[in-house]
Symmetry: C2
Subunit: 236 residues, 2 copies
Amino acid sequence: MKSSPNNHILIPPEPVDFDPTTTPTGTYKAGKKRDDNLARILDAAEEIFVARGFKGASIQSIADAAGLPKANIHYYYKNKTTLYQSVLSKLINLWNTQFNEIKAEDDPATALDGFIREKVRISFTHPNTSKLFAMEVISGAPNLQVYMRTDLRRWVKDRAHVIQSWIEQDKMPATDPVQLIFLIWSSTQHYADFETQVLSIMNKSRYDARTQKKAADFLSDTILRGCGLRPLSAKT
Amino acid sequence: MKSSPNNHILIPPEPVDFDPTTTPTGTYKAGKKRDDNLARILDAAEEIFVARGFKGASIQSIADAAGLPKANIHYYYKNKTTLYQSVLSKLINLWNTQFNEIKAEDDPATALDGFIREKVRISFTHPNTSKLFAMEVISGAPNLQVYMRTDLRRWVKDRAHVIQSWIEQDKMPATDPVQLIFLIWSSTQHYADFETQVLSIMNKSRYDARTQKKAADFLSDTILRGCGLRPLSAKT
DNA sequence: GTCTATAGCCTGATAGAC
DNA sequence: GTCTATCAGGCTATAGAC
């Protein structure tokens, strides 16, 4: 693939969207050992892909992290690409199942507070998942183009519609619902994706429960107030 | 390097901090051609490193993007690592020179508005620079550990101190200055780092001036209001 | 299911002509 | 300074014994 010099066009990174039902190869029977191995491999792969990138992640290093011989990875997954896509599938699955709904009948402050806190919680409990998603998107999302243009876009559209209905019901002042969703996403995910930077600046070696609570409280208060809503922590 | 299975410890990615004065090899004389080539190489490298990761970025692809033969890259840079670190140096240099100061005498709303708008502007004009920094941090910042623990931490500490002084002067309500800086960083950089996602959801193929202005206005208004300040756009 | 051995490819880096 | 040719190393993936 050739590029003209110094252009600022996004490099199309060989878009290869995958079947989200990607499954490992080998015998399709269930089995405690099999399931256990698959879980270990997926966790290890997520960690190594984040730390080293797709190309930089060798099958050997993933096998080491999973505590299995290298050849066993190839027993479960045809090649590195299918393994990577399985990790992405797991990621999308987490995303799709974790989030509570927001509805037109809800109280905006309560609903947004719940959304923000859930996102913060996932950032602190599944930082690698958030990081892998971020790396994929930063690189041009070669494996998630279709997902983003279909499911994810619809997800945002539906939530934006609910927020818009709150505005029309005079439950909250006018604002741009899509930008508000971006603000909540970015500010909450920051604690996962930029964990290294946050810890360096706070001069800590790891997150603790207090840091998570402070982040959730700060973001909920600040964003709710930013939308013209009364923060839940405000005294009546 | 061995890891125990399923741990959630950050993988130490061979921390190799570099001399920020990293310079290309070859003749040290100035020269129009030389400077031109160096600029082309650095721009191309930034783009390819973002799209493919460090390992995935082949010297050949960087050479193609720069419009130069592969061997010429090796003429200017001893190896891929020094090239990568030169790109990071350029990034830190941009960061260090671009930002205006905030001072205890300033009006908080005006100062924060200026800070937010400058960050938004850089996100839209230098998306690759922001993306590369993000990828480096997500991967554990193997090349920026020292920078983050020294210069960057001091930068944050100084700004936090100014914000704290505003609070003590009753120019603004109490809030956590460091978390506020994280909020501004994350929400503004989101438009660069997650460009692919934002465009997919907005169903656009590229950013335009209007999108940038809407983002800057939204973030300035929402964050200022979130801090208990009157947004600059509010009518007197 | 597990593991060893190896084929085959790609890429970083160098040597040396021009 | 530029460019061609090439080598050495590391990696994925497969074949096949157990």
